[in-house]
């Protein structure tokens, strides 16, 4: 199963993809391909550090992986490895490299791990988080907020929001006013709802394969 071959970690300093160090490389690359395919909404435009652990890889293997990332328009921000030869390979391919600590530091890959962002998300900015996300501030037009979990905004939403972006359509989006030009939950997308500006608190969730908006007070979350 692909999920055992890689894990997605971190958020604040960028995303990390942790690849299984023991499984055959072809299987790992396939797993990577599958994950990126499934989570394209989440990964699109992201900068990712890939962690290889103890694995030694050669030029071809590295090339294979970078090709997959490139195909999904992901920029490999760097590669972390405990293997010196893997680091040399990556360095000579022009990828930023760092050594990995012997002892893994407290990793945060649990979806229950929420992030509280206390600022206005401005035009041109992207906030991406693996987990649930709360934003205290507005999401302005021209910005983008993407989370693999649910998103709650204590403010006005006028930018693009995508919850459950790794494919989980049980997530929801709630905001004091919800007027995004485009909103996604899991694989379901919705575009702006006409001209009327909505200024009361609302929740969006997926019901029978479609995104449904409801008043905060009266909506029962599924």
């Amino acid at each position: 199963m692909a999920t055992n071959l890689l894990a997605i970690k971190g958020s604040r300093d960028g995303l990390r993809l942790v690849l299984d160090a023991a499984a055959p490389w072809d299987a790992v690359v396939q797993g990577l391909e599958a994950q990126l395919e499934r989570g394209s909404a989440f990964f699109h435009g992201a900068r990712i550090t890939v962690e290889l652990g103890e694995r030694d890889i050669d030029d071809d293997e590295l090339g294979q992986m970078l090709a997959v990332l490139r195909r999904h328009r992901i920029e490999a921000a760097g590669l972390a490895s405990r293997s010196r030869s893997s680091r040399d390979t990556a360095r000579s391919a022009g990828v930023a490299v760092r050594a990995m600590p012997r002892v893994p530091t407290g990793d945060r890959d649990d979806r229950s791990d929420a992030w509280l962002v206390r600022r206005t998300i401005r035009s041109g900015q992207v906030v991406r988080h693996h987990g649930n996300l709360t934003i205290v501030g507005d999401i302005n037009a021209g910005s983008e907020v993407v989370a693999s979990g649910s998103i709650i905004v204590w403010g006005r939403v006028r930018g693009v929001v995508h919850a459950g972006a790794l494919g989980d359509s049980s997530c929801f989006i709630g905001a004091l006013s919800l007027n995004p030009p485009r909103l996604g939950i899991g694989d379901v997308l919705s575009v702006a709802r006409g001209d009327r500006s909505r200024s009361h608190p609302e929740v969006a969730q997926v019901v029978d394969g479609a995104i449904v908006f409801g008043a905060w007070e009266t909506t029962r979350l599924r």
């Binding site: 206005t120 401005r122 041109g124 900015q125 501030g137 302005n140 006028r158 007027n179 001209d195 500006s197």
Partner: protein, 270 residues
């Protein structure tokens, strides 16, 4: 303690250069030593607005590249002996200088002036990054238009990311009648989106066009409403508590009443 303040906007044509000239002049009128710097390399025009274009011998790029001393490139203002302009190069482009050059330049100017006001080019690329590199503070100029506010929002994000602190906002060219009719975003509408502190609201003033063309800045003209508003901004920059007059109040009561009755619902998109 001298301060380096960059004036920027994202969008072009919202009044960066006019604001730089007016604020620089107003601060000099208050008795401060001021240098205004045109960082819009290749599209020089701060000198024209200040009526100093005929006096340019050296420019900012000459200083950065060591062809002259800073003193030689600084041009003294026509009215105030403590106000100087460092003009941009016209024959070069934005790549002629880098952020490090601008930081060094700002620090050099800092030793001689109370205020260094830098006029930024439009856009979010190298020229803008150069203009904010040496700044202690940033002032954002916008007009009450959706496009200008959108660009200001983008710029505020970049200024915050560059760790220049939260910039302050000047809203330029407000037309109170249009605001009252509901045809123009109000100061409050703009602040609601941008969520930063307001340091000035400048009314639309046709005399700015003529004064700009003559190379006479508006703050020198006591009858100019925009000039008075810029003077107020300069006093606020200097730390004075100057009440922010609501521009709408300058209209008659009947106008306002009529405006409220005639107010139309605004579009949802902004």
């Amino acid at each position: 303690m001298s301060r380096v303040i960059t004036i920027t906007s994202g969008k072009g044509g919202v009044g960066k250069t006019t604001s730089t000239a007016n604020l620089g002049t107003a601060l000099a009128m208050q008795g401060a030593k001021v240098a205004v710097v045109d960082a819009d390399i290749g599209l020089r025009n701060l000198d024209v607005v200040m009526g100093l274009e005929n006096r340019i011998v050296y420019d900012l790029v000459d200083v950065v590249e060591g062809r002259c001393r800073l003193r030689q490139a600084l041009i003294k203002d026509k009215h105030f002996s403590d106000l100087y302009l460092l003009p941009a190069a016209q024959t070069r482009d934005k790549d002629a200088v880098g952020p490090d050059d601008m930081i060094a330049l700002a620090n050099q100017l800092r030793t001689e002036f109370d205020y260094v006001i830098i006029d930024s080019p439009a856009g979010i690329e190298g020229g803008f990054r150069n203009a904010i590199a040496g700044a202690d503070e940033v002032l954002i100029i916008t007009t009450p238009e959706v496009s200008a506010v959108r660009d200001a929002d983008r710029i505020i994000g970049l200024v915050e990311a560059a760790e220049k602190g939260s910039p302050q906002l000047i809203i330029n060219r407000i037309k109170p009648r249009m605001v009252n009719r509901g045809d123009m975003m109000s100061t409050e509408d703009v602040l609601q989106i941008l969520a930063i502190d307001l340091i000035g609201a400048i009314p639309d003033d046709e005399t700015i066009v003529t004064s700009t063309n003559r190379g006479e800045v508006a703050v020198l003209d006591r009858t100019s409403r925009a000039g008075r508003a810029f003077s107020d901004v300069a006093r606020r920059i200097a730390g004075e508590q100057v009440p922010m007059p609501t521009l709408e109040d300058e209209q008659g009561v009947f106008d306002r009443l009529f405006g409220m009755l005639a107010r139309r619902p605004r579009g949802s998109e902004r």
